[in-house]
Symmetry: C2
Subunit: 312 residues, 2 copies
């Protein structure tokens, strides 16, 4: 593998937008769109923590971008570019780098973003990556976690828990005949582009697990939340696991679906804004100490190893 500079020139410079100045300078220069606020987020992906050694490098690259894009989606921002850090062990070869850069290129096209800059380092043993995503938004329109109101309904996009099952499938712990669950674990779909300002009171993306992330809204908005297990949207592929794997589906992360606080009067507008995207009501917020309660179809509080309710 070439040195840092030849690596940058060969694999990363072709990905750079004009903001990246050919990746030849000390920093990137970005002219903010007139009258817009800048939205910034960063996430890491570490080997053995966020991905499995041997995972396809293009999918690692795309998931790195998509996890961050999902954070921008949760606030309603429009992504424009990113900074990348890589720390790569000596075992990384040209084929890995090429595939990694191809993955970045693919999602740059898909999400209309460019590489603005970064930092490339060696590491001793493990791959360590981060991306800082830059987006913009009309002033005052960002969706926050702290503005859910009592009586707001809890809605989620897509289906919940596929990624948790997909991770188990990748570890050989369950069957995934058509590979759908695996694909949801390896390549999430950030819900970029939904126009939810004036529709949702609060939003978060489900990265830590539905219960945990719902708890973040509860804590920030100082509300209790109640959700109904039977209403959690389930993909056909996850349906056969829905009972026994419910806990994993609600407490493991990586779905990157949006969880929204919606005033009941806005339910119709929400469906319209989501178009063909599946969107499902799973519960509601109420006055009370910040906690999440999961109920079964008889209205009983469900007990999990990690409890179905949690104080935050």
């Amino acid at each position: 593998m070439g040195d840092e500079f030849s690596r940058i020139a060969q694999y990363f410079a072709p990905l750079a937008g004009p903001e990246g100045l050919g990746l030849q300078d000390d920093a990137a220069i970005f002219t903010p769109p007139k009258g817009r606020e800048i939205v910034l987020t960063v996430d890491q992906m570490l080997e053995n923590i966020h991905f499995i050694p041997g995972d396809a490098p293009d999918l690692i690259a795309r998931k790195l971008l998509r996890r961050n894009l999902s954070d921008l989606a949760a606030m309603g921002a429009t992504p424009v570019g990113y900074l990348l850090t890589t720390a790569l062990p000596p075992s990384i070869d040209e084929a890995w780098l090429k595939a990694f850069a191809n993955g970045l290129a693919q999602d740059q096209t898909e999400f209309n973003i460019k590489l603005f800059g970064g930092d490339s380092s060696s590491s001793q043993t493990h791959i360590s990556l981060s991306a800082t995503l830059i987006g913009h938004i009309a002033p005052g329109t960002a969706l926050r976690r702290n503005a859910a109101k009592p009586g707001d309904e809890i809605w989620v996009t897509g289906t919940i828990g596929d990624a948790a099952l997909g991770l188990k499938a990748r570890r050989g712990k369950l069957e995934d005949p058509n590979g759908y669950l695996t694909s949801r674990s390896l390549l999430p779909t950030p819900r970029i582009g939904l126009k939810l300002h004036n529709i949702a009171n609060a939003a978060i993306d489900i990265s830590d697990g539905l219960i945990q992330d719902l708890g973040h809204i509860c804590k920030a908005s100082n509300l209790a939340a109640e959700i109904y297990a039977a209403d959690i949207p389930t993909s056909p592929e996850a349906a056969s696991f829905s009972h026994e794997m419910l806990e994993a589906r609600l407490t493991d992360g990586d779905d990157y679906e949006l969880l929204l606080a919606i005033p009941p009067a806005n339910a119709h507008a929400l469906k319209k804004a989501c178009g063909p995207l599946q969107i499902t009501k799973i519960g509601s917020f109420s006055e009370g100490p910040p906690q999440v309660t999961v109920k079964d179809s008889n209205g009983a509080i469900m007990q999990f190893t990690k409890p179905g309710w949690k104080h935050f």
Copy 2:
């Protein structure tokens, strides 16, 4: 050590500016100052690569910020905030975190920046850190690497090679009686705030070593550079090592001084802009293939193990 969320609440939330939204949301929101361009840079610090296990956590934190601040300084930008990633092994305790956060706080005050957001993860064995620095600049005034002109003089701020010697001192390979060289290695001083637009044609900060970084300007500007070993500014503490350690001083990094391309007519303006800061002419640029030549006081090309000249 508490979980990710209690760690963020206890140590990092107090460092956040309003842009960080209390570190409770998915992303930060930054309103760009009217009519300014945004300048963005990111750098990593990895245990065993960029710092020595057992280094003081407050100094690691401050060097992480300062390495990035130096990149903003090289372009002439005004820093405003940063995003932080941490990946910490189980061995990290509360005392380490507290000292690390104290270091961040100290340099936030010194450089008038705030924490905008970040990502906190566990790691298996080693500490891995990154900071994304955000700054702003008047449109079109950023100093680049690609605009040096034949005949420009090469100037450097401060003294060169102290950090390289300091690293050797920290490894027990040379004496550092008053600790100055060590301090230059552990805690560089980014040259933020110099007003060099219309004075310098090109700039870079010396992070990879003087010869390497001068080479970056040569390559980006398509020029040759010649520097004179006898003119390289040397601190009193480095003076006794100046001959035998010259190669390390010119080829190891971490000085974070600025290297500037200055039209001869601007030398006076440069000195005025630098005020009390030491600033020294060490050579000049000329037409020719991108390479750096180091000459001794007799005008002979100096030979190093890593050569005193290098093609880029």
